[in-house]
């Protein structure tokens, strides 16, 4: 599903050039659950953003579902993102002015779905996440765990094949963190590919493979292991 070859990302600010990613070559198969680990500043989030087509690499190739996507414009990337990739962020990134339901149905609006379709899909996603009773709440009326569950509902509502999660439990206590990880696990079991950045070895345990990054390079691309039962 994902394949990168000699991927490189360089940030240039004023006179300083920082290499965030250097010669990254990885492959993620459909249905995999991959955790990206490494110390702060190693390039995990940058890599995730490139995988999510939120950012583009400076050099190298990126194949998403078999297509070369590294040189696309923001407009073209946006088209591919829509409906194919779901995002989960550490800080949830729900729109504060919209209710839980409105947040969840937003990606469907951008896909041009009808109001009836949106209602059905959003309610079904919220139900799966156990958030239906809170559908009319605003983000600031929810706990962190609830907000993240709403964010996951939003990530899956379009039926995205790939979920990219950036430290999904980073802002949660251990109880809520576990809940979220269980949800991700069950999504993966239903066939969704997940790439997750995490600092937590405990969370990484949920993944089938762990890729370690250090100073922008892959130091260990891990081995597929048996799923934790």
């Amino acid at each position: 599903m994902i394949k990168t070859e000699h991927l490189k990302k360089v940030y240039t600010t004023d006179e300083i050039e920082t290499t965030a990613l250097n010669d990254i070559n990885i492959t993620v198969e459909e249905g995999e659950f991959v955790a990206l680990m490494g110390p702060s500043g190693c390039g995990k989030s940058t890599f995730l953003n490139i995988l999510g087509l939120l950012d583009s690499p400076t050099e190298g190739d990126y194949y998403f579902m078999g297509d070369q996507v590294s040189g696309l414009s923001e407009r073209e990337r946006s088209k591919i993102r829509k409906g194919n990739i779901g995002f989960i962020f550490q800080s949830f990134n729900l729109i504060d002015e919209l209710t839980v339901f409105e947040n969840v149905e937003l990606p469907l609006q951008y896909l041009g779905k009808s109001s009836e379709e949106r209602k059905q899909s959003a309610e079904s996603a919220l139900e799966r996440m156990g958030m239906l009773p809170r559908r009319n709440h605003f983000p600031n009326q929810l706990s962190g765990g609830q907000q993240q569950r709403a964010a996951i509902a939003r990530a899956v509502v379009t039926g995205a094949k790939l979920i990219l999660a950036d430290e999904p439990t980073g802002n949660l206590d251990s109880g809520h963190g576990k809940e979220v990880m269980e949800l991700l696990k069950s999504l993966n079991e239903q066939g969704t590919t997940i790439v997750m950045v995490t600092h937590s070895p405990l969370d990484a345990e949920y993944a089938g493979r762990v890729i370690h990054l250090l100073d922008g390079k892959v130091v260990d691309s891990g081995v597929q292991k048996e799923m934790i039962s």
Partner: protein, 813 residues
């Protein structure tokens, strides 16, 4: 999707009400100002356009050129109209003269109740007036009936004034206590947006009954007492007629003027008179196109300030919105969709502001109308213009204020938006600073320009006129019988101990046109000298008007020859004729008509005419016989002792009753009348002040919003500084430092602009304030005002920032 956008807008409004209020309030005031000014400007531009044939209606002005110098005036000789129709039948269709007996007002009474009322706006005119000026006859002869001698058309208002509910048609009115005019028709009031209005139109032929030598007087080309309007033939070219007027003038005028003089005639479209004509002897005071430009510029500036607020607050507030934009992008929103979203927001804000503006206009319009002395109604605009104006406003404001913020927000990469990278961007801050400078430059310009305009007009009014205008009661004398008993009136008036002096003059000092005469000073050959300004005065003129005498003496009854052989001149005349000192001028002579007159005294210069005119050489003479007295002593000037004048006026009214039974006792105070003459300037300054204050207010609102955001944006920096020991005043200094710099820069930009504009404008006045000194002074004052207002605004925000527990700000990061 639009529903989603609207929801977000409304919820944003709820979350940040202050920001919303500032935006809407600022825009609302801006739009309201703009609209009021638009109403005013539309009204000014509509003058005289309502006449059906306005495109073919012209006034004929004349100018006497002497030694290359033109003296254009709005009045022309009586025979001009007929001569034009006769000589150019293919070009001139018809014409109308207006003549007011050379008087400000004419006494008219209903013979049955004998109550005398002084009527202004009374003209003797020609029958075609009904056609040319679209007179709407509501009763009586439908054609007006001005072909008949002694007929008069009166307005509905005047009809009810004299006849109450009775039908006035066929009834008589006694004019000047001497002759009767018969009401032939009643007309509707003249429209307000006409450069002059009339209440009474008497047939020109009626003058035959007043003047024994009617035919002689109405054939004179040297006398120009009437306003002449002509209607061109359909399709006739005004330029064609104009090109033939020099030859025409040569044909008719040359017999009456010397070889050194040349008379030029000019056609002026009636639609141009109100805004573009400021000639001597205008039929009524006119306005000026300068006001139109001035107000339009102010309207645009105010609107710009309000839009800049919107842009500034939106981009400063973008930090709050960048996350939303980022998420929307991550979820698949396209740029066009996001721009649409922000434009919808901008349109919505503008719409709400329009509603608020409508409320403000509704409340302010009656006051604004009273203020401008115009009956301004929204309905005057017509639905089409109203919708068009609102539409243009809506689109331009929404585009001006919405496009930039949406471009900034939507151009970011989604990941940058999510990281709130916008808040750290320097370009946005630079632009905001630029816009703040722009805003403050406008307000600084408005403060400086308004203040200097005020000072200039104030100077014109307060300027030492050279005579004392206070406590002078003026009685118009023209054609009253009081003039026949002048000495008796003066003696009887002076018996009251509040009456300190009585004198006469041919014009209203400080506020009249003046006339030039053929006068030959000593050393000039007959006919070689330029026409000179002459003022007829009566004894005690210098003393009563408190004019400074530099040399010699004033007129005195002790010298029996003063009425036939003595003149007074002013200092400008001494200088003009290069006669040396005022003392040297005593005894010099002038030839006036067939008399040789000696200079017996020299006065300091005084403003015998309008302040807009340069001080000119002046000669003062006593009327030498009764005829001259009747013809030239138009005003009695009576100096009263300070204090309540009612006792003195009662006495004067009683004395008046003894000398004239056919004219009511009419009087006014000189200072009031002079202030009235400069009323339009006062009004202009007041309107300028109000709009400037509003502009400043809107600017300050924006500044308040900006500092609030600055406090938010810099909360972490402030918290860190506070943990390191920054005090509350320190917070204030930190926040205000940047803005103070911007205000100084803004003033430096405004200064040369203000100089250029005001220098050009004030250059039109003969008497000016010292622009450099006033400009420097107001620069400092405006700087201080702006700084103080900004400091007050900033201090409230600083206090808030200073009081926040640093831990809170640090934690939120």
């Amino acid at each position: 999707m639009i529903g989603n956008y609207l929801k977000v807008v409304l919820r944003n409004v709820r979350r940040r009400p202050v920001y919303t209020l500032i935006n809407i309030f600022g825009l609302g005031i801006g739009i309201a100002c703009c609209f009021l000014i638009f109403l005013y400007v539309t009204d000014e531009l509509s003058y005289d356009k309502h006449f059906q044939q306005s495109d073919r209606l012209y006034r004929v002005n004349q100018s006497i050129i002497f030694e290359g110098e033109e003296n254009p005036v709005a009045t022309t000789p009586f025979p001009l109209k007929e001569a034009l129709i006769r000589d150019f039948p293919a070009l001139v269709s018809s014409g109308v003269r207006f003549f007011n007996l050379d008087k400000d007002n004419i006494s008219v009474a209903n013979p049955e109740n004998r109550e005398i009322i002084r009527q202004e706006r009374f003209y003797f005119t020609d029958p075609d007036v009904v056609d040319l000026f679209d007179i709407e006859i509501v009763a009586g002869n439908p054609q007006g009936g001005l072909d008949d001698p002694n007929s008069v058309i009166i307005s509905e208002r005047v009809a009810s004034l004299y006849f109450g509910d009775e039908d006035p048609v066929g009834k008589d009115l006694r004019v000047e206590g001497r002759f009767l005019l018969n009401v032939s028709a009643v007309m509707k009031e003249w429209k307000d947006n006409t450069h002059f209005k009339s209440d009474m139109l008497a047939s020109f032929e009626s003058l035959r009954g007043i003047w024994g030598n009617f035919d002689v007087l109405t054939a004179r080309w040297r006398w120009n007492p009437s306003w002449t309007y002509i209607l061109l033939q359909e399709g006739a070219d005004a330029a064609n007629l104009q090109s033939q007027l020099d030859a025409f003038s040569e044909r008719y005028y040359s017999d009456f003027f010397s070889e050194q003089e040349q008379v030029k005639l000019y056609l002026q479209p009636i639609e141009d008179i109100w805004l573009y004509s400021n000639l001597e002897a205008e039929i009524e005071p006119t306005s000026s196109y300068v006001n139109i430009y001035l107000f339009s510029v102010i309207a645009v500036l105010i609107l710009l300030i309000a839009c800049v607020n919107f842009i500034n607050l939106s981009t400063a507030g973008a930090i709050y919105r960048s996350k939303e934009v980022g998420i929307r992008k991550v979820l698949g929103a396209e740029k066009s969709g996001l721009v649409t979203q922000f434009m919808i927001e901008s349109i919505l804000f503008t719409l709400i502001s329009l509603v608020l503006a409508a409320g403000i206009i509704y409340a302010a319009l009656p006051h604004f109308s009273a203020f401008t002395g115009k009956e301004l109604l929204v309905g005057n605009l017509g639905t089409g213009s109203l919708v068009l104006f609102s539409g243009i406003l809506l689109v331009s404001i929404a585009a001006l204020s919405g496009l930039y913020p949406s471009a900034v927000l939507t151009s970011l990469k989604p990941i940058d938006s999510l990281r709130g990278k916008l808040s750290k961007g320097k370009d946005g801050a630079k632009l905001r600073k630029g816009l703040v400078v722009f805003q403050f430059s406008i307000t600084a310009f408005l403060i400086i320009a308004t203040a200097l305009t005020y000072f200039q007009f104030n100077y014109l009014q307060q300027k030492n006129l050279g005579f004392d205008k206070e406590q002078v009661l003026v009685v118009p004398m023209g054609m009253t019988s009081a003039i026949w008993s002048l000495d008796q009136f003066i003696d009887r008036s002076s018996s009251h101990n509040s009456v300190l002096g009585v004198t006469g003059s041919s014009t209203l000092l400080g506020g009249s046109n003046y006339w030039k005469y053929d006068i030959t000073p000593e050393g000039y050959a007959e006919g070689d000298a330029p026409s000179l300004t002459k003022l007829f005065v009566w004894y005690d003129f210098v003393e009563t008007m408190k004019i400074n005498l530099l040399a010699g003496r004033s007129f005195s009854k002790e010298f029996s020859t003063d009425e036939t052989q003595a003149v007074l001149i002013n200092r400008a005349m001494v200088d003009f004729l290069e006669w040396g000192t005022p003392e040297d001028a005593i005894g010099k002579t002038f030839r006036i008509a067939d008399n040789t007159m000696s200079v017996v005294g020299v006065t300091e210069d005084f403003n015998h005419s309008y302040l807009r005119r340069e001080l000119e050489p002046l000669i003062m003479e006593l009327p030498s016989n009764l005829n001259q007295k009747v013809a030239n002593l138009a005003y009695l000037n009576i100096r009263l002792a300070p204090g309540n004048p009612s006792d003195a006026t009662a006495h004067l009214e009683e004395v008046w009753g003894e000398v004239d039974r056919s004219h009511g006792f009419d009087y006014f105070f000189l200072d009031d009348r002079l202030n009235q003459i400069y009323r339009s300037e006062q009004q202009l300054t007041q309107i300028l002040s109000v709009f400037s204050i509003l502009a400043i207010l809107i600017g300050c609102l924006g500044l308040m919003g900006l500092t609030a955001y600055a406090v938010n944006r810099r909360s972490r920096e402030i918290a860190i500084r506070k943990t390191l020991g920054l005090s509350v005043p320190g917070v204030f200094a930190l926040l205000s430092k940047d803005y103070m710099k911007l205000i100084v820069i803004a003033h430096i930009i405004a200064l040369p602009v203000a100089y250029l504009v005001l220098n050009t404008w004030f250059g039109e006045f003969p008497f000016q304030i010292n622009l450099n000194i006033y400009l420097a002074g107001m620069f400092v004052v405006s700087l201080l005002i702006s700084m103080v207002i900004s400091m007050l605004t900033i201090s409230s925000q600083s206090l808030k920032a200073a009081r926040i527990n640093p831990a809170e700000s640090l934690r939120s990061e």
